[in-house]
Symmetry: C2
Subunit: 378 residues, 2 copies
């Protein structure tokens, strides 16, 4: 993956950098790829670039590969990976390149906000001025009311994210922050402040999927990480139509499907990459994924369980908050970071000790299009 951040590179340059690194790592440069999947949310609006599947197949020298762009909002990356997996599992492909990419900072801030807001319900949300941050604020307020979470407790989430991000050379934000920094940052949507919200980033990540046969031919058995299970679920587009403000049904169902396919359960997972676009989301997700009881997520965060060397490490690479959130790239970056953890090749300070199973959780829309993917190194 590229570094995430406000970058000079174009969408094509970012995607190429990530893709070529993935090929070099797996010694597949020059191999025939059967398919290219590109996860990107709004390349047209953010960059004026259209038809990115052919564009990237051409730039990467992959013609005449099949090429498809996949979009499911900010879970486009995980959906692209899932699609690549299905093509390999079906026998329609043996070697697939998956790229997640988004170049968001090339347009002015108001355009970026307008484009991202369009994924909300027009009828029930955006027409009343709601933004993703506003919906996250509703969630946080209700969670505080129901479970007694305090503002200072919540601040520990971004503090932890930045602590990990500070050690991650690819993270958008590489500096530590304090609880006071969070409390003193400006309000975005009460009770959420600036440091509760992930940034708008540029970046790309890539992974390569191969069939058992192809892995054997490429002699990459020792380097390869197994996809154990993938689950995908939607919820109602508008938050007001859902069962709960403090739990995401789509996470629960996607996780149930992924765990069933993988034949493992939450307690078996050694490292998690969660979609913490807003601080409150990490707590809700930890609870929906069975890492903590409802309302108890903050306790294990404060106890250090979610730290890199804790019992259930969450977002060792900084998560969306610190690693950054180029929307279409995020899901693939999460998977790349889980793969790096399971191969035990993460930067030393970020490496979770001896993980065998990892899980990534990627949200599209505001909580309505969710993909959970589970991986194993054995």
């Amino acid at each position: 993956m590229t570094r995430f951040g406000v970058l000079d590179e174009t969408l094509v340059q970012l995607a190429e950098t990530a893709a070529l690194e993935a090929m070099d790592d797996s010694h597949t440069r020059g191999e025939r790829f059967d398919f290219l999947f590109v996860g990107a949310q709004n390349p047209d609006e953010f960059t004026g670039r259209s038809h990115v599947s052919t564009l990237l197949a051409d730039h990467l020298g992959l013609v005449p590969t099949g090429a498809i762009r996949v979009e499911s909002g900010p879970s486009s990356g995980a959906s692209a990976f899932e699609s690549g997996f299905a093509f390999v599992a079906s026998g329609m492909a043996d070697l697939v390149l998956v790229i997640g990419v988004e170049k968001m900072t090339g347009v002015d801030r108001s355009t970026a906000v307008r484009v991202v807001n369009r994924m909300l319900s027009q009828e029930s949300e955006s027409r009343y001025g709601a933004t993703p941050a506003a919906l996250a604020a509703l969630m946080a307020r209700r969670y505080m009311h129901d479970f007694g979470l305090t503002r200072d407790e919540l601040s520990q989430i971004p503090v932890n994210a930045h602590r990990n991000g500070a050690k991650n050379p690819l993270a958008h934000f590489q500096k530590e922050i304090t609880v006071e920094d969070v409390s003193n940052s400006r309000i975005v949507a009460d009770p959420l402040r600036l440091y509760d919200c992930c940034p708008t980033s540029d970046g790309a990540a890539a992974v390569i999927l191969a069939s058992d046969k192809r892995i054997k031919e490429l002699c990459k058995k020792d380097q390869s990480i197994k996809v154990l299970g993938i689950g995908h679920a939607t919820d109602y587009l508008a938050m007001q139509h859902r069962q709960s403000l403090t739990s995401m049904n789509a996470t629960k169902i996607a996780a149930e499907r992924a765990f069933k396919m993988a034949g493992v359960q939450s307690a078996d997972v050694d490292v998690f990459e969660l979609h913490d676009a807003f601080s409150i989301l990490q707590l809700v997700e930890m609870e929906d994924l069975g890492i903590a009881e409802p309302g108890k997520g903050i306790k294990i965060v404060l106890d250090g369980c979610t730290d890199i060397r804790g019992e259930t490490p969450v977002n060792p690479t900084g998560g969306l908050k610190a690693r950054g959130h180029p929307t279409g790239a995020t899901g693939v970056a999460q998977i790349r970071d889980i793969v790096v953890q399971l191969r035990e090749i993460a930067p030393k300070e970020l490496q979770v000790p001896c993980p065998t199973i990892g899980l990534s959780h990627n949200i599209g829309g505001f909580g309505n299009n969710i993909v959970v993917s589970i991986f194993s190194n054995h």
Copy 2:
């Protein structure tokens, strides 16, 4: 599928109409769908609607189905179908809804043109003012030079398309035209005239994919059509980088892959739906698919072989020229029309006599992202 044309309905209404018709036809309304795939090229720019996969899953009552939008330019529909097929073939899904939809006429003409042109190579084509019609004109001019095709001969292609479209109650254009009408229509890009070019349309089409197991449970064995093979290939984004102006390598490779998977050859196909966005494309495609020798396509058109009751019927429903071309919908409409032919439930005048194998051919970009799908009724 809905009627194609300049329609009052919104994108959501069009997609819903097609999807509900597909469900009713297969008695799957109320069944649990594992996945929804939406093929749509530029819903954001054409309609202001984003995140259409969740949006439609919600509107159709399919939550918590997995939902993904698929985009590969104007072949988005076929790519969505192909993705649904891969998910079923992989065992990740047993029942899948595929919707192709585009609402193009809600924006002014110049916006529509600007959006569609973005799929061309910015570096080598659109920056010099090239449009898809201009590229098709280059192709036509070269084809005329190489093979002696005359303007009046070429005019027979749209004449035939309109003759079929006139009998198709769902076609955008339902009136016959003459060779003189084509010759008298205004020049769009010399030598191509208005009637050589498909229209900008609104519309949607839907198909349902099911595993053998699910088809048995639904007792739909007699109604179901088998997917024999799918092939997908890209070519260089810019036409100037390709091998030929009068042949599309991506068609040849996609067809080779599809025929290989299907275990049949071109001569076995009883009905074709080809991507005739411009009249010249039909000839080039017929030749690349092995229906005619290079340069000889026009002969079998003039001989009546491609008529509905000819030896190799092409576009019995009017093709993109007369049925219309709501870009993301086209690929699914082609497949729907092949299915209707193979089930022998087309309107009597459009029905090809006793077909057993059908093929659809959908182009993304200008000839650089092509999907060929082959179907059988036995």
